[in-house]
Amino acid sequence: MILIIQICKEKFHYYEFVRPIEEIIKKTNTEFISTHYNDLNQDMLSKSEKIIICGTSLRDNSFLDDIEEFLWLKKYDKPVLGICGGMHIMGLVYNGNLHKKQEIGLTKIEFKKDFFGMKGSEEVYELHNFYVLSKECYVIAESKNCPQAVEYKERPFYAVLFHPEVRNREIIRNFILH
């Protein structure tokens, strides 16, 4: 079972930041549960085989005050994909620092190696005001401004700053299926 973790404070953002991810997973015929981090419990974490932590809107940063709600990431040893805000959360749990950097819209980035089917130069959709970089991960892709895709050194954790549910949906499909 795939566990989708929502971080939107304002529920109406579900349609923009969560539903498109659910639609991609539905097409793979994979079972999933989708829940806000406030409603997350140990049973869901135990039953999950993989986790996706979604992003949220530019003005919605309340999850940054709730990083202690994600300390389970220190022990979880199955694959996790963080998207935008999800990437911030993973980086902060793993001792990273938050930096201000806005990128909005289509941007070319460079992948140094294969990342769920991405390689070389790819156009991605950006929507962020911050990024987080942790020493616990390798940077796989960068824009001219900041890291865009990372892989954790000690765990099967991956994160992207851009939104693969908008462009490059195969990242999510490949994460789910492989």
């Binding site: 304002e10 529920k11 109406f12 953002h13 349609y15 923009e16 539903r19 498109p20 639609e23 809107s57 530019l58 003005r59 919605d60 806005q102 909005i104 819209g105 289509l106 959709y125 929507l127 005001n129 549910e165 908008v166 462009r167």
Partner: protein, 222 residues
């Protein structure tokens, strides 16, 4: 939350307004841009001048901003009118009916962020067939007011979005990759009635113009 809906009078922005109300938000005003440029990158529908009558039947105030429709200048006009909505109606967020356009979405996101407003795109990345099904299921009465791609022609003007339309557009999607909900700019639409309206609008005048695979039907409603 008090919000403004960027409103063209077509199916997507009207459905976004409907979803917004259903989620308990207060649609404090609508915002429409009337572009003098028929090839505007951001805003154009053949019958946008009638948006005021739709607003009237929804009993929601509307702010109308004229724009020359030049590429980045029209964004300045959009910013001006969103700022006005913020000061007049104390809105905290802006709603759009954007489905696919990264160009449109990213520019509106930037403007909202500059003005300290949240931006909601409830139809973002929605499957276009599901969108049409949702419109029919929720009793939206929508007519086609413009067609802009082969093999669409004059005969599509005035057609309603119903199950027959869905079947026909499905065939065109399979054969010509026509986007079923017109997201590639293939169709323009106008909402005649929906659950937000207190009265159904009636067409009192229409003017059809065009050639080959580019036709518009300007309408006046009452």
């Amino acid at each position: 939350m008090k919000v403004a809906v960027l409103f063209s009078g077509g199916k997507d922005s009207t459905f976004a307004a409907f979803m917004t109300k259903n989620h308990g938000h207060d649609v404090s005003c609508l915002i429409s841009l009337i572009s003098e440029n028929p090839d505007s990158y951001m805003f154009h529908t053949p019958s946008i001048s009638e948006a005021g009558k739709q607003a009237e039947t929804m009993k929601i105030p509307i702010l109308i901003q004229k724009t020359k429709g030049e590429k980045e200048l029209e964004l300045k006009d959009l910013k001006v009118v969103i700022r006005k909505a913020k000061s007049e109606f104390k809105i905290q967020g802006v709603i759009t009916g954007t489905v696919e356009s990264a160009y449109q979405a990213s520019r509106i996101q930037k403007i909202c962020d500059m003005l300290d407003l949240d931006c909601f795109n409830p139809l973002w990345q929605k499957n276009q067939f599901e969108l049409l099904e949702d419109l029919i299921k929720n009793s939206f009465e929508i007519i086609i007011t413009g067609v802009f791609a082969y093999p669409l022609d004059k005969s599509w003007l005035g057609r309603k979005i119903n199950q027959d339309f869905l079947q026909d557009v499905n065939k065109l999607y399979e054969k010509y990759k026509i986007n079923p909900a017109g997201e590639g700019g293939e169709f323009e639409t106008f909402v005649i009635n929906c659950p937000l309206f207190t009265d159904r609008l009636k067409i009192k005048y229409k003017k059809i113009r065009g050639k080959q695979n580019s036709w518009t039907m300007e309408i006046e409603v009452k």
